[in-house]
Subunit: 208 residues, 2 copies
């Protein structure tokens, strides 16, 4: 006689904790693989991630659905670890829009610097998946939203969209990474970006 599948209430604490630990181990392994060990690191494959995490490849699928799902989780993990969201209120709290923008650049530079080893490969991977899967694109656009708000605070102007696009390009990881060469210190890189951003804003403010 076949027993009907009884829907028993089942809330496990220890199992959930173990699963979260597994999840964390996979995320850590993924980030380790993305940043690469300096010399010749293995390619970023789910097989390699699973091996590094000490689990089976199917466990990765069980936790993250797909490779893209894993990459999304990796990004969120990075943002969480570097307190990216928590730093934003301090930016908007500044009454002077120029000071706010400067603070914003500082926050972004801290984020880029924190993950400067991981982001290059991460970016390259996410670019090939249908020219950035929509979900990751949305995450990138958050920065543009913040910039739009900050530009509005500078006062109403016709070329606001133009300035936003320019600032978006000037504060991106590509810019930070491109300046982080020849062993240049992160603080110096930030000052370079601050100066470039300031100059760009000044051009628009003077034009009215």
């Amino acid at each position: 006689m076949v027993v009907k599948p009884g829907k028993r209430a089942y809330r496990s604490v220890r199992r959930a904790e173990a699963a979260d630990e597994t999840r964390a181990r996979i995320l850590a392994a993924a980030r380790r693989l993305l940043r690469g060990g300096g010399e010749r690191s293995p390619a970023f494959s789910l097989e390699a991630v699973a091996q590094q995490a000490g689990v089976t490849r199917l466990t990765v699928y069980n936790q993250f659905e797909s490779k893209l799902g894993l990459l999304e989780a990796v990004f969120d993990d990075m943002a969480r670890e570097s307190r990216l969201m928590q730093d934003m209120p301090a930016v908007f709290a500044l009454p002077d829009p120029h000071a706010a923008l400067r603070q914003f650049v500082s926050v972004m530079c801290r984020f880029w610097d924190f993950h400067r080893r991981t982001l290059p490969r991460f970016d390259a991977l996410t670019r090939l998946d249908d020219e950035v899967a929509a979900s990751l694109k949305a995450r990138k656009e958050r920065r543009r939203v913040v910039l739009t708000t900050l530009v509005q605070r500078l006062g109403p102007r016709r070329d606001a969209a133009e300035l936003v696009d320019l600032l978006y390009a000037l504060t991106g990881f590509e810019m930070f990474d491109g300046l982080s060469v020849h062993g240049r210190d992160a603080a110096v890189v930030e000052e370079l970006m601050q100066a470039t951003v300031t100059a760009a804003v000044a051009r628009y403010v003077n034009d009215g």
Copy 2:
């Protein structure tokens, strides 16, 4: 009886022409695939390239050695078509270094604009191949060499390397592409880049 492999002189004109035509067809197919048909374009695989070109996948290998070899040839083909190299003498011919730099930015913008549909995918692909294979990296570095020379003409200064890195970032495709949004005209984008470059140079020149 086995006949010795006689080394007969063999210079075919028509065969070479046919081969060149095949080569051109493959390059065209590759570029077509890279720029993608707007909506949902097939992935850039040698299989897809060969099919688009009307040849076998092995013919692609015969002509370009490997996927990387094909990508190198694609880049050279793009550079040749947009007369990138031919425009450089005109840059160096200008006696005023500021005018030369402006002309350089103009030349680069023309190149970026000419291939703005192709370069995003091309860049993404070349980034994953061992973090840019050496040969393609060398091609990218040519721009840096030119900028180094142009900066030197501005006069000797301590921070020359810093300015070069900044200008390299400000004149790259990422910058051009990031500003080419919302249907913004290429001429407007160029003027944005010109202004940003000018401001950066001015900062360094004033500091001495």
